[in-house]
Amino acid sequence: MTERTDAIVIGAGHNGLVCAAYLARAGIKVVCLEAAEAAGGMSAPRAIGGKYHFSGLAHAAYPISRAMRRDLKLDQFGYAAGPAIDTVALDADGRHLIIGTNRVSGDGLEETDREAYPEFKKQYLAFTRALRPLFDNKPPRLKNMQVADTMTLGKLGWNVRLGLGRESMYEFLRVAAINIYDVLDELFADERLKGAIAADAVMGSAMGPRSPGTILTWLQRLQGELNGPLSLQSGDRLQLVQALVRSAEDAGATIRHNAHVARILVDNGKASGVELSNGEVLNARIVVSNADARATLSTLVGAPLLDAMFANRVSQIRGSGVVAKLHLALSGMPKFTGLSEKQLGHRLLVAPSMKYIERAFNHCKYGEYSEQPVLDIVIPSMHNDALAPDGHHVMSVNIAYVPYDLEGGWENQKQPVADKVIAQLGQYSPNLKSLLVEHELLTPRDIEEQYRAVQGHWHHGELSIHQSFMMRPLHGAAQYDTPIEKLFLCGAGCHPGGGLTGLPGRNAARRILELGAAK
């Protein structure tokens, strides 16, 4: 049986849903195919032991932009940013720092640092704002530039020169491509503070604070903060995914679950539909893939249908996951030395200094996991009782750095990694181990398998300079269209990259509509 629709979106991750919703709202008949049982991709709900609920991989995120909320009527469909949370930079001696969007406090913090922090945030948010035209639009093509591209670059130039002002522009140009280690060292004295900021700049990337380009990844992350403070993605409601599903369906899109796309059908250089792994064929005017660009082009399309150099460049896209996820089911509330019960609702960070992060990173370069990893922890049940049985709690931990390709293989090393992290958590929370009911560790390999992200990379490819903007995911496919006519990309592998922003999905939809491709 073959069916025909206007557009097929592969993957109901949030970018796929955003893209589907935008397309559907423009009157295009959309079918969104999700391989898993539930929509949401990396932020789809997940449970262990049947009664402990988590939000997949994404446990904290920034709010969705006002424009997208308005365009897709997300608020009307139940979207609200999760509870705003601060960051607690954990200290082994209990002298923790509490870091908010524009204030920092804590034991032993020097006055100069306390005053410098809001200034720093102000300046970097200004840089981020200046970059906004670049993130909000398709990356400009440098050759055969279109009017829209000239506008984007014009706005960017205007923002950088006039929006920032002369002094700030010089500073921006100085730091834009360098590493966050040097910059933070110039500005702050407190190791805990520097560690906490640097951890956010590198989390999810195969980079340490001293890697070039870590200011760029930090600015990329700060894009979200322009929409509001960091907020918890709590596990049962998953309002964003739900609102996106409702918005897309309200506009007429169909979302099919357990529909695993085996290949993209290409007819004489044009995408004509997809074939599911059960053999079912669906035809469409266009195919939009929210899957990793490597998986889309190398596997779903395949090298034989691509030009040689392009296929080769696809195979060279860098992006090997370095973050594992640990889910803990706890029979009671964990106690953290030096933290009040209320403070347990914040994000807790084990990244006591930039050197600590850099050392943790060293291991993964050699295919080893870090003995002293960076940990990014939330306890969603502090905000939402429904996530665990009465009195019980769930804890979600991002662990960096854990390599995709572990020396000696993953078969026998998953448990030791989980045990070590649990023991490490025990240094901050003495009662944690006694509360442990159950746990689940997702290594980058598991993430690849379960979330179909090549090599388990959160962002479908490193957010390095050579894979950003008009080079993301690679040149020849950086404006969301690909060398295969009628095949588009809309995932995190595209500009402006990963994170729960929906921007790649929205930019892709706008590009498709601008090209009139689905008509």
Binding site: V266, G269, S298, G302, A303, P304, L305, L306, D307, A308, M309, F310, A311, N312, V314, S315, G476, P483
Partner: protein
Amino acid sequence: MKIDREHFRQSLQRTPFHDRFDEKSTSEEWMVWNTYKVARVVDKLSTEYFAVRSGCAVMDLTPMEKYRITGKDARAFLDRLVTRDISRLRPGRVTYVVWCNDEGKLIDDGTLFQLGDNDYRLCVQHHQLDWLLISATGFDVHIELETHEVAALAVQGPTSYAVLAAAGIADLEGLKPFDAVALRLKDIPVLVSRTGYTGDLGYELWMEPSHALQVWDAIFGVQGQYDIHAMGLSALEMVRIEAAFIMPGFDFNTAEATVRNGYDRSPYEVGLGWIVHLDKGHFTGRKALEKEHSRPPMRRMEKIVVDGNKPVGEAYIYDGKNGKRCGEVKCGTWSPILKANLALADIEYRNGRLPTDLWARIEYQRELKWRSAWAACEVRSKPFYDPEHRRATPPARI
């Protein structure tokens, strides 16, 4: 592969036939071809030229780059590599192919031999391993350079069939153009293909290096009955222009080595549009070539006969005598057999059309003094020299 650690002591490699060429060389005109020392001229250019056109000439082909391509996806890999539809290629057959980069610009040409199931040999003028490996991404294919493991000899000219038969190669008579079969010369296994770069009847012999001299000696063993000459690359250059065969790297710049914008060429532009099959399925550069094909031609390599007998050398071509410059000669020769001044020239089209009144401005010397002269050019659509006897099977035993 065994690496000869002393290789650096010898700046140029010697082919397995080197000793024989060395014995015959009176001119001592050597040149470098793909790290090998080969003859430019062995004895006299005119003797070698006329041997190809009216007798039999033997040339060393060993330096040709040869790649063995095997594996489950070998066919699919080659199909995606080359512009030509090779679906009818089968074991025992050879086909002439070109390949392009993603932008549809020519990288190189070569002859593709199908030796068996999933077993191919690609013979190329220039080193191509890097491009082949780039193209191999996503294919289950094994590519091996076998240039140094296969000795090769071209035996070309109207009497080449008679010579090889007399030398002891059995079962040669049924070999059609672009056939390639494993035969024996006495008891020596030799792969014989009816291929060549001369535009005449001719064969290419592929063998193990250890058999090279025996094969050579068997051929030259019948020299008493036939006019056989060892030939260098200078004579080959003359005859290949007569046959209007283009040479990558000389007549056009190969794409992946081109730095300047617009200096590379597409198959259409060098007159090889006849082996671009846009309907065959995907191949590298197809999209770009499709686009080019739908537009009026910008330029073409044209076969021109230039008036007079002054060799055209590196002349410009003009649209009308004293007119606007519209092209340049890429290679040219005086053809003794046609008594004509031949050239291949890269001509810019005007509004999609070939200018009708072409003139070459020839710079030449008289007793070391430079002069220039205008010569009218006549465009030919067919190869300059294409004798009937080239195609006959079995070939005439003359």
